[in-house]
Symmetry: C2
Subunit: 473 residues, 2 copies
């Protein structure tokens, strides 16, 4: 709890309507998308960078901890307050004034409060997009703070690759505004400071505005579901596709049978696309796309994909068991529903891992062998991004399996240890760090980097900011 | 000069053959590619990260300033010693042991001493490349330290986009080795520290190893020279090309008549490709490429490019005066010779600028109007990367034009002021910061960022390192 004099003072600074005090008003800002429920002392909803700066300066001077929050769709408790009731949530959801499109530069200056769907909805008429494809609909500020990746990383990369400039408010006594806005693609004039704030959960500063790179919307899309012969056939399949389709290839997503079955069961409107309804052990959703209209004399993209698959079908080792080209929307609907689908299969313990590309399947296969003996009744419902090495390694306690907090903790620690220590993987590929995986950050980050983070914290935002701690203290 | 006891001590640490003392041996390490000649106290040529660490620790403990040097092909005096004779050059040219290719992951772990041409030469048989296209042949360590861009940025981005991990030696008393090596594409587990060392000229640490992203080599290429109606037609041309060719478009490079004429005069082996040998005011070299072999039923890329140009020819406003599809090698030979060509036209004052894409031509046009009155006899020999907003804005004092150091300084200051203050551009798009443009860094970097750089310096490499200074002191 914080003193009510602070309510009044903050209301004077940014307007009473921008300070939420009542429990009912605060509730929506206190719960994470997947984990946790905390309690906020207050929720602040400033309208622009200047108000963010005023609010931050006030909080810092009065020793009030701030948790910045964007769309609050993250799954690692990176944007929700803890249970103390002492933290103030600073929501960015009203930062929705600036939307300045520069078509010739293919870039957009936008306030942090816009949702991805808003941005791409408005860009559609210009044939442009912010090319990050996610199941969720986060705010753009949060997307920068977590450096989201998504399903088309293979073609477009992550958020980091698509940011030209940002404006940041630092948690110091002045609420210093660091103006790193830029519409430039090439600019090597010293430290690229924006990189420090991208992907660090708001711990070093609050991103309030950004200028982002835009890409052309795809104008031709073809998708297919591929059934690999077995796990060992997946990388040869990817290689064969990359060799024949190169820059056309915009997605190569793996889906396990367990994940697909859970999703088909949970979302009855999804059509089961498999022969006789039998879901194969592992399926790959692949997409090829071109960002121009079909030209005269050019083969339709469906036909290109079909002929490529026919070639791959004939390859030595027969990596392909089955394949069918089908409607993109239907196939992506299945892919995008997986995250919700596995959540409803049972008690979910989710891991957002990444590896060298060839190790995604190697890791999953290793787990299929080792998990049942160690944690009986736990189902592997993995899906992910083979093309970039990411995998949402979801474990679900089947009905009847023994589950308690202790088992879950043991499971979590074991999986991370295998992923990081044995397979050289990342314990957070694209979800970032939040309270939920803080202990694994502490465990797997060497002392040198934690000390460096302490130093970085001291020079940027010395006051407490965000839900997590990257340093050593 | 430094005491000869240091020579002996360093020779004990890294081997006498790795310490160059004699003037004749040092000379090649003391001269920059375009500017300056300094004097080194010693040249150190360690063989691996451990030797770099030993040498750095020794120098730091003994107060000896180090200038790391890679291929030494930069043009801003970022890797050469000053005239004092007190600095030690630490050359990376013998760091050529590790070359570990991971084909499935499309990545390469490589020591900092390999040249770009070595790397791409070895990758060719695997159909892969490190996709940074430059006229020069730098070392990979230096490429990371300057974050080079080049002519195919439009498709592949800069070095920063293509680095997965690095190993760095910090300039502290221990020569601390910061191991940020990684083969992962998605990894959001805290501060992405490698970003601090990429593009900062070695001031915060010496990159000794890296793991880089590889892309498929192009298998089909078509190039054309386009003659736009005038400056105003350039952006509509780019838009028309992007709309019709999207991801095929791998270069869109502008070349001014002065630059082309100077180059044709300097390199007689280049064929003049223009009708009756008359070079147009402005020419665009455009390239489309596909990274797979021509498929049955697929139109050849030359034909695609020709039909696109035919469509553009018919557009309202007639943006195209002339266009001809021709041999890629010949056209790129001209493009890559421009840098040398303009150097031989007369006394060169080079600027490596960038803008929002539409402002490249706007800036050049503005300069064409304003320059002659202010600096008579100075020729604009610009060429650059319209597709990413970069321009090598080269000014040449024509024979007979008044030139002295004072005029050159005034010219330099005026051009930067117009570029940065009036057009919102960058004073160093892809060459980075060196002694040559240190004063413009000081002039155009706000106090907040310089103070932040002081702090960053203190926590990474507190000792003097590199040819430049990013902080305030």
């Amino acid at each position: 709890m914080i003193a009510s004099t602070h309510h009044t003072a903050l209301a004077d600074l940014i307007g009473a309507e921008n300070v939420l005090v009542e429990a009912g008003d605060r509730a929506g800002y206190e719960t994470g998308a997947r984990y946790d429920r905390g309690e906020a002392a207050l929720v602040l909803r400033p309208r622009d960078t200047e108000q963010v700066s005023l609010a931050v300066a006030y909080c810092v001077r009065n020793g009030i901890a701030i948790v910045p929050q964007s769309g609050n769709t993250g799954v690692v408790s990176g944007s929700t307050p803890d249970a103390s009731g002492d933290q103030v949530v600073l929501s960015l959801d009203r930062l929705t004034k600036t939307f300045a499109l520069d078509v010739e530069n293919r870039s957009l200056h936008v306030d942090a409060g816009f949702r991805l769907s808003d941005i791409n909805g408005r860009l559609e008429e210009h044939g442009l997009q912010f090319p990050i494809d996610l199941g969720a609909d986060p705010g753009i500020g949060g997307m920068l703070s977590t450096n989201t990746g998504g399903s088309r990383f293979l073609k477009f990369g992550d958020v980091r690759r698509n940011v030209l400039g940002i404006k940041v408010v630092l948690a110091d006594e002045h609420g210093t505004v660091l103006d790193l806005l830029s519409g430039l693609r090439k600019n090597n004039t010293g430290v690229d400071w924006k990189q420090v704030f991208i992907g660090t959960s708001g711990a070093f500063g609050i991103i309030t505005e950004c200028e982002i790179n835009l890409e052309a919307l795809p104008r031709q899309i073809a998708t297919a579901l591929l059934v690999p012969r077995d796990g060992k056939a997946v990388m040869p399949l990817l290689a064969a596709m990359e060799r024949r389709l190169g820059g056309y290839l915009s997605a190569f997503e793996g889906m396990s049978r367990n994940a697909v079955e859970a999703t088909l069961a949970h979302v009855p409107s999804l059509r089961n696309p498999f022969q006789n309804g039998v879901v194969p052990d592992y399926v790959i959703l692949t997409e090829v796309s071109r960002d121009w209209d079909l030209r005269e004399g050019e083969q339709a993209l469906d036909a290109v994909l079909e002929s490529v698959l026919a070639e791959i079908w004939e390859l030595d080792g027969a990596p392909l068991l089955d394949a069918f080209v089908g409607p993109a929307q239907e196939m992506w609907a299945l892919r995008h529903a997986l995250s919700e689908g596995v959540k409803h299969r049972g008690r979910l313990v989710g891991f957002d891992l990444s590896f060298r590309r060839q190790d995604v399947i190697a890791f999953c296969d290793w787990m299929k062998d080792a998990l049942p003996a160690k944690f009986p009744g736990v189902l592997i419902c993995d899906f992910g991004h083979i093309g970039d090495g990411g995998v949402h390694f979801n474990l679900v306690f089947d009905r009847g399996a023994h589950h308690d907090a202790e088992v879950e903790t043991a499971l979590r620690e074991w999986v991370y240890a295998v992923a990081v220590e044995q397979f050289g993987g990342s314990f957070s590929a694209e979800h970032g760090i939040g309270r939920k995986n803080q202990m694994f950050y502490d465990l797997y980050t060497d002392a040198t980097r934690r000390t460096l983070a302490d130093g970085l914290k001291a020079i940027t935002s010395p006051a407490q900011l965000g839900a997590v701690r990257f340093g050593s203290a």
